[in-house]
């Protein structure tokens, strides 16, 4: 599946849910299922600090593809991270850089994209793109 197909998949699974709390329940479950980041990567250099929560992110580059691992201290952000990894991890830098991430808005979570720095999610997204760019140029 390409990035947009995965996004459509995600949108569909959220669209099936009516109640806000149930959507968040799904996100929480996704967050809980995210495999923890290796302790060695929970270092300041991998940390993206929001005002209220943190995200750690680690990227590696193998055979032309970028692999991400990440974690957050809040479960809801972990859920978002889970979705992002599903979309981005294992993609080529070009795929990542060209991707238009519309799923967040479509599933009604665009508040997480607000420029206020409550959570580190927006900064993480930017950071993932930066990694992709760096690997591409390397």
């Amino acid at each position: 599946m390409n990035i947009d197909e995965i996004q459509e998949n995600i949108i569909q699974s959220f669209d099936e849910i009516e109640d806000w709390m149930d959507k968040y329940q799904l996100l929480i479950d996704m967050g809980n299922s995210l495999s923890p980041l290796d302790e060695q990567y929970k270092k300041p250099q991998h940390l993206i600090e929001g005002c209220q929560s943190r995200v750690w992110i680690h990227a590696s580059y193998k055979e032309g593809k970028v692999y991400f691992e990440a974690e957050s201290d809040t479960v809801i952000v972990k859920g978002l991270v889970y979705l992002l990894l599903k979309i981005f991890s294992g993609r080529t830098p070009d795929e990542i850089l060209k991707a238009d991430l519309y799923f967040i808005e479509r599933i009604g979570l665009k508040e997480h994209l607000s420029p206020t720095r409550a959570n580190g999610f927006t900064a993480m997204l930017k950071q993932m793109r930066n990694y992709a760019l760096a690997f591409k140029l390397s």
Partner: protein, 408 residues
């Protein structure tokens, strides 16, 4: 719960409380961040803009006279509200933060030298920390911090030990914006004064909840924000004793703060104008006066009583929530419940409460050093105003129960 005033009819004065959030009636429990406004305050703004809007203190025409009168009447209203000795001791600023910055600069220029100390406490809001750090950096002075115990209560003995001739000012919050704890200001001020040290009180979290008498406290400076006491944003108050204000140089220059301007030498106006450079927010001050009248009409005693009952009710109910951890065991708590839900990040709690129509604040509440001292990064804070009800608490309790279940 039986309350001495009719909360239902009071709520009618606050149209925003009828709003729905994600389909749920709004429960607004973020009053320590900012309060909602009664109709009379917003009406005052509208009436002023459409009836008597003209720059103040400057012109001889009628609109300007009316605007000036309203602005100066607001000063008198504030004076009475906090029982200042004279209206000249009331300076209008943009908010608590600016009031404190004004003192940090002007008091600093007048009275502080290299090596001097400023004393604050561990539970201060950033607005009562950073201005002093900036002063200390500029003047090569030292910031000293009164420690607190594990519950968040100030250690009086430690405070006493920190006083010395080097201390030029004590800057202390009246009520903590995270814990709701009230500091023993009378004793603290008395002790500071016995050593000739003036005291600034950050009253941001006090004025909406208890009756404040600056003369009885004998505070030298008292700062608060209009928007936290049902008034408009953009207005704040600095009360200061005449004798200090007269010795302090102005903070900002321009507009009506001058007497005579010559390029060689400028002389300044008398207080309070010396400290009010530029066009003041004269519509905002008039609306603040309206807010204070609103509060006075209900009566701060009744407000305090209602909020005390709410608080007791809240603690009883919330303690029944699985994993509920109240922060700080404090004898005298005001209108604030800070807590954690065991095993759940406060960001997640706040976010889900919002989806259930309940507005609380999560995070470090602009008091990072306090949270650090208490061993946490963030917490959830539910904070009340007189328009909150036991139903609000019930909604909060139910929501927390539901949220708790989502994480297992």
């Amino acid at each position: 719960m039986e309350s001495k005033f009719d909360v239902a009819s009071v709520r009618k004065q606050f149209p925003i409380l009828e709003q729905k959030v994600y389909g749920q009636p709004l429960v607004y429990l973020d009053n320590a961040a900012t309060t909602q406004k009664p109709r009379s305050v917003v009406k005052r703004i509208e009436d002023a803009y459409f009836g008597q809007n003209a720059n103040v203190h400057r012109a001889v025409h009628l609109l300007s006279q009316q605007a000036t009168e309203a602005h100066e009447a607001a000063r008198v209203e504030v004076q009475h509200f906090i029982n200042a000795a004279e209206s000249d001791e009331i300076i209008f600023t943009r908010g608590t933060t600016e009031s404190i910055n004004l003192v940090a600069f002007s008091f600093g220029e007048a009275f502080c030298r290299e090596g001097d100390e400023i004393l604050i406490s561990s539970m201060e809001h950033h607005s009562n920390i950073v201005p002093w750090q900036m002063l200390c950096e500029r003047k090569k002075m030292h910031l000293k911090v009164i420690p607190i115990d594990d519950n968040g209560c100030l250690l009086f003995d430690e405070y006493a030990k920190l006083l010395s001739p080097k201390v030029k000012l004590l800057a202390i919050t009246h009520v903590s914006n995270v814990l709701g704890v009230e500091n023993p200001l009378r004793q603290m001020i008395e002790l500071a004064h016995s050593q000739g040290i003036p005291v600034l009180v950050d009253g941001a979290q006090a004025v909406a909840h208890m009756s404040v008498d600056v003369q009885a406290l004998d505070a030298d400076f008292y700062a608060f924000s209009s928007h936290k006491i049902f008034g408009p944003t953009g207005v704040g108050v600095l009360y200061a004793k005449r004798n200090l204000l007269e010795q302090m140089p102005p903070y900002q220059g321009g507009g009506e703060m001058i007497d005579q301007v010559h390029f060689e030498k400028t002389t300044y106006n008398k207080i309070p104008f010396k400290f009010e450079a530029g066009t003041p927010d004269f519509i905002g001050t008039a609306a603040l006066a309206e807010a204070l009248r609103f509060v006075e009409e209900i009566g701060l005693d009744k407000i305090a009583e209602h909020e005390k009952q709410l608080l007791d009710y809240a603690l009883e109910k919330l303690n029944q929530v699985k994993g509920f951890q109240l922060i700080g065991k404090i004898p005298e708590r005001h209108a604030i419940v800070p807590f954690l839900l065991k095993g759940i990040h406060s960001y997640d709690v706040g976010l889900l409460l919002d989806k259930l129509g309940i507005a609380v604040r999560t995070g470090s509440h602009c008091a990072q050093p306090l949270l650090e001292r208490l061993g946490m990064d963030t917490c959830v804070r539910a904070s009340f105003a007189f328009y909150n009800t036991t139903e609000d608490i019930d909604r909060l309790q139910a929501a927390l129960n539901r949220i708790g279940n989502m994480f297992n």
